[in-house]
Amino acid sequence: MSSFVSQFKTLAGEKTRDLRHRQVIRTALRSYEVVRDKRKAAFQSWEFARQAAAETKWEAVNHLDTHLEALVAKLEARGTKVHWASTGAQACAIIAQILRDQKAHSIIKSKAMTSEEIHLNHALEQEGFTVVESDLGEFIVQLRHEPPYHIVFPSMHLTRGEIQDLFQKELGDAPSDSPEELTMVARRVMRQKYLTADVGFTGANFAIAETGMISITENEGNARLTAALPKTMITLLGIEKILPRFADLALFLPMLATAGAGQPMTCYNTMYSGPRQPGECDGPEAWHVVLLDNRRTELLADAEQRDALHCIRCGACLNVCPIFRNVGGHTYGTTYSGPVGSVITPHLRGLQDWKHLSNASSLCGACTEACPVKIDLHHHLLQNRRNASVSEPAFFERLAYKLFSIVANEPKFWSLAKKLGWLTQPLQKAVKGSALDPAKAWTKTRDLPPMPKESFKDWWRNRK
């Protein structure tokens, strides 16, 4: 067993027994479900919108080379410096170099999952730079030295009491446990940091090939400030974030907001097409856009699962996923958790090490149903399982299925198996749930149904 799977099982065991965790997540997501359903219902046709969004992303991803070239040409024409990084390490090095060139010390960051993916904060701190997360949720988990719990709601696993204690300990300022007052503490702390940071760092939600723009979606205004005040701005962009046309945003912005947080629109949706332009009074003098591959092209090469690159990171599939809700975001041990994380992590970080995430699913399909860009998520989990067993079959599991297929194909064997099951039933009861019980995995928490003496097939035969 790889260390990743045993870690997953250990943490999953802890979290699934943690009833407080279960309650916190359930409460947090219940309000989400109510508003999301209301916003979806406001659409004249959510389903047609999904199909159009899926087709738009299909077009973007399946012509990724031409769209990227168009985007970059437009960006460069207005003075943006574009960098290309094949790996996370390269991206970190490029960004560190920009900071050194600027003689920068402090960096203010707005939320970017791509930067979590490449462990940017760690890399920059190693080099002696100060990195401050400005998104409230990210700020909270940064203070706890923890990765975000959820790609959209980074601190949803914490209660106000825990956040109050954290602020008291780390900032020496937490007048009460009211979310309002705690938010104002963060606002005060962050204000001065904006005004003094040398560099502002952002992620990106969409990149528009037609007009050469990066679109950033946020609620707090922290990305707006990050892109307004520091002299230098750096944006890290996964290459799959492309949309072909400016007008595509008219559909994608409300869909992202609705699926992700049950909002009609996220508070700020901002399109950047360059650094400060002639005649403008503020904004960064220099803007660096770093394009990140980091094995996205591997996923692109799998035509069957290429649509996983359509993902707009709305988090809807996490929110509806019963696995995510019970094991929690940190248990995955990945940057992208939940269904989409289980699908793409094997591509980004190795199938054999991460196939357990595809196995840890009941394949209920709630994710696929929720996804605004119609990624075939739960079927991709099945395909990952298939690919994993083809490339490296588990000896005993395959043997078991070979034997099972012999039994299933031969009525005599199948009858015999049922008879044996019935005969051993009393024995099974005696060892129920103990180490001796071959069905322990089941019986530790669940009773087995009593096995009737007469099976359906017996009945059918007798009746004829």
Binding site: K9, L363, V390, Y401, T445, D447, F456, K457, W459
Partner: protein
């Protein structure tokens, strides 16, 4: 009770209904026969091949599913009392056999396959089976039936006509956590999901959880009886067969 054109219906009995829940299968036979159709049940079919398929062993799944396809080749209609096995035949056989000599056969069988409640309502046009079940009940939608096959209205239409039955919807529509081999590979997650489901069912105050999928019910019942809960589980067909 109205009689339609007499059909010969091939009943597909999933392995767990055969071995553990024969009453569900027997009820389907009796209901379909009462409606004037003749029922056949190929004895040589034990399993649809879903366990190896879901675990990623598609070749082993084909060794089971291939013969199943041959035995169903001439069926007029294949009816299954499980959304999960229904989805296997209807949605996954075509994928499993794509680019094999049985590809066309898989598509043909797929097109003739029905989940039991959907068959009654959409194909036979029947909702009132004259059943009586004087209990407060709730309904669990098996995920495969719900999302792969899109079946939600049919069981409710059927239950709506059962005399004496009081129906309460579950507050949350979520997976019970069974998921086939998942329940044994990740028992802690499966159990937690099941506990959420049982708690939701308890909130309704129902005496019975009804479902069109016995495999989900096996899981839910297993938890309920371990918890000592008085709530009982029962397959939809058994409810519809209570006269």
């Amino acid at each position: 009770m109205f009689r339609r054109n007499r059909m010969t219906i091939t009943l597909f009995i999933p392995c767990f209904i055969d071995a553990l829940f024969p009453r569900a299968g027997i009820s389907m036979v009796e209901i379909l026969e009462r409606l004037g159709h003749s029922v056949v049940c190929p004895e040589a079919i034990a399993c649809c091949g879903q366990p190896p398929f879901n675990s990623g062993y598609w070749e082993e799944a084909r060794t089971i599913a291939g013969p199943v396809l041959e035995k169903l080749a001439d069926a007029e209609a294949v009816v299954i009392g499980s959304g999960s096995c229904g989805a296997m035949l209807k949605n996954f056989y075509p994928e499993l056999f794509a680019n094999t000599p049985q590809a066309e056969l898989a598509k043909k069988v797929s097109a003739r396959t029905w989940e039991f409640s959907d068959f009654l309502v959409s194909k036979l046009g029947v909702t009132d089976l004259g059943a009586k079940f004087p209990h407060k009940v709730t309904f669990h939608d098996g995920c495969h039936g719900l999302r792969e096959l899109g079946i939600k209205a049919a069981p409710r239409a059927l239950l709506g006509k059962v005399r004496g039955l009081e129906f309460v919807e579950l507050m949350e529509e979520s997976c019970c956590g069974f998921g086939g081999t998942f329940s044994a590979k990740f028992p802690m997650i499966s159990t937690a999901m099941g506990e959420v489901k049982c708690a939701a069912a308890a909130e309704t105050g129902a005496d019975y959880i009804i479902s069109n999928d016995s495999s989900c019910l096996m899981h839910i019942q297993g938890l309920l009886s371990r918890q000592g809960s008085p709530i009982k589980t029962i397959h939809l067909a058994e409810v519809l067969n209570q006269q």
